[in-house]
Symmetry: C2
Subunit: 223 residues, 2 copies
């Protein structure tokens, strides 16, 4: 069960290899079933939405029997948990890498980069990002998922705190600053992703994605 988490970390969901790195060991034992299931699940969510996701459908797509996925995921909720766990890990890596890429030790520069890294990842992994925020994911969160979430959250919190020591919004309580700082990339990404919500802003077409992200994040963490 715990090693599932490491599996997830290793899989790159966004790379769409043709569903099987499977070094077909033989016809009976599939080889990479659990990671193939995760990969296919994200594809389905992307293409047909979360309510079109079924364990049986995945099994059929992968050419295994309908009950095979049960050997790797206790139930559907735990599949969602595993997907979300991998997503939070990716999101944390993306934000931290963005901070490191600045090669700066200015907390504001780093925090700004993290905000942009967050949005960039969210906009390029839309289905996965939506899954992270899905109510039923949080509801049935297992320990792995909770841990991954907390790790992400801690890495952001540290950066916010550092920037506050640098003087950014230093007169506002930390939890408030933290909430505010997290809310902008999260809310903005959600708004941009939602077809309903961005439908009334065809204005956005005038911006390059990177430019749009840049301008929004600058309003939260000026540099």
């Amino acid at each position: 069960m715990r090693n599932l988490c490491e599996d997830v970390g290793a899989v790159n969901f966004s790379e769409k290899t043709p569903v099987s790195n499977q070094q077909i060991q033989n016809a009976y034992h599939h080889g990479n079933l659990s990671s193939d299931i995760l990969q296919r699940a994200v594809e389905i969510i992307d293409e047909q939405g979360l309510d079109a996701l079924s364990l049986r459908g995945i099994a059929k797509d992968l050419g295994v029997s309908h009950a095979a996925p049960n050997r790797h995921f206790k139930n559907k909720a735990s599949l969602l948990s595993a997907i979300a766990t991998g997503g939070w890990m990716q999101l944390r890596d993306a934000t931290l890498k963005a901070a490191d890429a600045t090669a700066s030790d200015n907390p504001n520069v780093r925090l700004n980069a993290m905000g942009r890294g967050f949005m960039r990842w969210a906009l390029r992994n839309r289905a996965l990002f939506r899954t992270l925020l899905h109510p039923d994911v949080a509801r049935f969160a297992d320990d792995d998922l909770t841990e991954a979430m907390l790790e992400f959250s801690a890495s952001v919190s540290d950066a916010v705190q550092a920037s506050q020591r640098q003087g950014r919004l230093s007169d506002v309580p930390l939890p408030i600053v933290s909430l505010f700082t997290n809310a902008v990339p999260m809310g903005a990404a959600l708004l941009l992703i939602n077809p309903l919500l961005s439908a009334d802003h065809p204005d956005f077409e005038q911006f390059e994605e990177e430019e749009l992200i840049h301008q929004v994040i600058n309003l939260v963490v000026p540099i």
Copy 2:
């Protein structure tokens, strides 16, 4: 079909009357079935989550046959659409009333109040708020839902534009300001609602809800 929308507007989801204002006309014809279905649906989402919502379950709870709901909602997606339509209407009313309650014509004061009204509503109608943002709701949005969403969006856009004419962030393109302004209450509410995400901020317990909202919104729309 169109009149469904008016039904929704009339129902107050948050009032938990014991499921039936039904003036039981007789045993066969239920009387208020469609609005009772909506009401019960929101209760279920609140208590057991969206994936526990079933048309058959609602029918059983209301004491009608399993196929009765199909007379009022073409399918499950259209039930979700109707729920969301009512939600957006409530949300728009809540924000506009908050603005009017200031009895001010200062655009910044009004916009600030709208942000607080938004968050207040979201935190007090959590299940409904989550449903508004549910990916499968947007995916199968019908015309009523789209219209309700656009009406909400327009009312916020107007307020943002007015505040920009007043000098707030006047050097930033309107779509960016709009995105930023919307992102904060939406993201903040989402973060506060998510049990996973707010778990690492037990810090929030030190704040009254209203005080918390006040401080966060002041960071987006200072007055």
